[in-house]
């Protein structure tokens, strides 16, 4: 199993352990390897099977580009990890309640996902205790 798919399985485990936590997961699949020649298959999508997830296929890296721009704009530097050919991948970005896409950078971003899974779980729990007004 590739590291990316291990990351997907790690996130599924986190979701299984945080049933009561109000969290939404957006899985953006993007072609990074020579074998990524077509849409993710049903078995791949099933790796994140929790109903709090939504899944996207981003062939042209639109969303990864937007995340990179957020980090550059609000942090003043490039993301510290997880770039390949100029595209972000195998990275998790966490946003607290209340914020809108493009108006802030993520409160936490790091990767590879399978390796940072314990920290990711802590960040999800921590941010979920914030009130919307704390994060706006």
């Amino acid at each position: 199993m590739t590291k990316c798919l291990q990351g997907a399985s790690a996130v599924e485990r986190i979701l299984n352990q945080t049933h009561s936590v109000p969290v939404r997961v957006f899985v953006v699949w993007e072609p990074m390897l020579p074998t990524d020649w077509y849409l993710p298959t049903r078995p791949t999508l099933k790796r994140v099977s929790d109903s709090r997830a939504a899944q996207f296929w981003d062939k042209s890296h639109f969303i990864a580009t937007q995340l990179k721009q957020q980090v550059q704009q609000f942090h003043g530097n490039d993301p510290s990890c997880c770039q390949n050919g100029g595209h972000l991948w195998d990275i998790a970005a966490v946003y607290p309640p209340g914020v809108k896409w493009g108006e802030v950078s993520p409160a936490f971003d790091n990767g590879p996902v399978y390796r940072i899974a314990p920290t990711l779980e802590q960040e999800i729990s921590r941010m979920s205790t914030l009130k919307q007004s704390d994060s706006e």
Partner: protein
């Protein structure tokens, strides 16, 4: 006999293709997978913002 075999082969290939990539192939309870392009890329932002009462995690992964 040969035609029948070919027909079955086509049916099996189509069935496998539908299983792997058929529409709405996301797990139960999730919205259908969205293939983003220049015309619908804003759909990601809309979906993200619509869930603003929750913590949101965006994962970037490759499928293989």
């Amino acid at each position: 006999m040969r035609q029948r075999r070919t027909l079955w082969l086509v049916i099996v290939i189509v069935a496998i293709g539908f299983y792997l990539w058929g529409s709405g192939s996301t797990p139960r309870g999730q919205p259908p997978r969205v293939s983003l392009n220049e015309t619908n890329v804003a759909q990601f932002q809309q979906t993200f913002n619509a869930a603003s009462s929750a913590t949101r995690v965006v994962l970037f992964l490759s499928p293989t």
